[in-house]
Symmetry: C2
Subunit: 313 residues, 2 copies
């Protein structure tokens, strides 16, 4: 056990995530805050505000969402782009949100889709997945997991895996993404009969079975992103990656249903994390925004119920 | 013409880069600064310094490199990971370096290998490739170009392309990377006889031929990263992407030679940018570090001469 910033970190990411999923629900709320869609109570005025004022409003919104969803879901996923949009001012806000979410018992994924080689991969991994050696820089102790892009190959992923393993953290490699255009590359047929995404799945499975990478629950610290909108591929990819926890975007606003996602889970009823962003974050819009936190909490609770029901029909 | 932060931006990225390459040399120096390898004159002491002190030393080094190489090469490429390593403190340093480099006539590529979908791609593009609407956030007017990862498909690249086009900026999509493990995915044979990287090349070519994306020199604002270490693929990829400017890493420390890279250029002797990092940045190490700026300048000049000679044998 290691302690950083008051947060106790058990040694294996997959075991921690599995325990949180069973205690609450295997659901992840995506924090993709966009200033123009914040609740009116937070005073959003897209024409007037500078970066600091916007980030203050976004931070207040994210804090409210974190507190509202924490009792109902295992995990939150912070979309790095929404913060990088505001340069260093935005980056400064990420560490405290990571820390706040971990303190209220949420597993935190930083969705930054990083990918590079050698020491650059190492830099990205250390900046995201380890307590920063630079206290003044403040990364909130690092996220529990990071999304990574596999296009550069296995050696490009290794520094991420090594760093995650050293710090009891995890990774989710993009295998099959939820956007319509993902077919352009990920669905192409290889000469050996596999699809390109199957080859990535094989690479992820092999990398994830390395020494010490599989926890006591049988899942690896190296998970996979597989979109809920790609139902036709889900069972095949599940069979190809028995030890990967699937991070499954595309639920809710992107059209995936709880029935689609039941196939994402392993035979033990674990091994997947269903994620939604807009359908929870902006649940208050349908209600006129009078009590946005209550609406967000109800959205998260409803999603947790729906996913749990799909798993136990 | 648009003016931001005192820098005049001609309308088409590929034309600007081609002009700079012809005026000086089609060479790019990669700014991948690592604190432990800074010249002793900058007082590097890896055991002692906090993030602010380290970034101050790194910034001083980068400023010296920018000034030293500006007379000899067309371009610098800033490795984002080396700055993100220091969280917001590192990110704050990038904008002023971008601005300084553009002021001394260098084309600036931000090597951040971003890739996401929809509004997240849009956020990354705006943060990197456009003068920030948030003056306090300070992105130095935005870089001239950004590296992007194609794994998520064509629709994921479109927000990057749209933003680059609107602001006279460019992109380099990863097609064939220089690391040994890149074969794991990029070299796989497709059922139709192409390699995976050829399919990416076809996607990049098609996207790059969109309305208004090709400049008067015949090159698109959407370029391609093709590693110098993949000589066997270079001619084929060159033929597949006649309108892409190739950003060619792997020269120098990674083993590519000027002879290998002559194949990267188009029939007009343009369309490629040969890049090296360590062999230029750390040229002073061989000389004992007494005058590191002179050594860096000599390293850049020597590389420019070598590449120009390879092009005009």
């Amino acid at each position: 056990m290691q302690s950083d910033a008051g947060v106790t970190t058990a040694p294996h990411f997959a075991d921690r995530l599995t325990a949180a999923s069973r205690r609450k629900a295997p659901v992840c709320v995506g924090l993709d805050p966009v200033y123009a869609r914040l609740p009116p109570a937070l005073g959003a005025d897209a024409c007037e505000s500078g970066a600091k004022a916007r980030m203050a409003a976004i931070t207040a919104f994210c804090e409210g969402v974190i507190d509202a969803v924490a009792p109902h879901v295992a995990c939150i996923k912070i979309q790095s782009a929404c913060f990088e949009r505001y340069q260093a001012i935005g980056m400064q806000a990420v560490g405290p949100l990571v820390q706040r979410a971990r303190k209220v018992g949420l597993v935190v994924i930083l969705d930054a889709k990083r990918g590079d080689i050698g020491i650059s991969s190492q830099h990205y991994a250390e900046a995201s997945l380890a307590p920063s050696p630079f206290e003044e820089a403040g990364n909130g102790g690092g996220a529990d997991a990071l999304t990574v892009n596999p296009y550069l190959g296995d050696d490009a992923l290794e520094p991420f895996i090594r760093t995650a393993s050293e710090h009891g953290r995890g990774l989710f490699a993009l295998v099959r993404t939820s956007n319509p255009g993902s077919d352009a590359l990920q669905s192409l047929a290889l000469a050996d009969g596999r699809a390109v995404c199957d080859a990535v799945a094989d690479m992820v499975r092999e990398l994830g079975e390395g020494a010490g990478l599989v926890g006591t629950t049988g899942y690896s610290l190296l998970g996979a992103v597989v979109g809920a909108t790609k139902a036709a591929d889900m069972r095949r990819l599940r069979a190809l990656m028995p030890r990967q926890i699937f991070l499954v975007p595309g639920f809710g606003a992107q059209g995936g249903t709880a029935r689609d996602v039941a196939d994402c889970f392993g035979d033990d009823g674990g091994g997947a994390l269903i994620t939604a962003s807009r359908s929870v974050l902006y649940a208050f819009e349908a209600e006129g925004g009078t009590d946005w936190k209550a609406a967000v909490e109800a959205g998260a609770a409803s999603m947790a119920t729906e996913v749990t029901a799909a798993l136990n029909p």
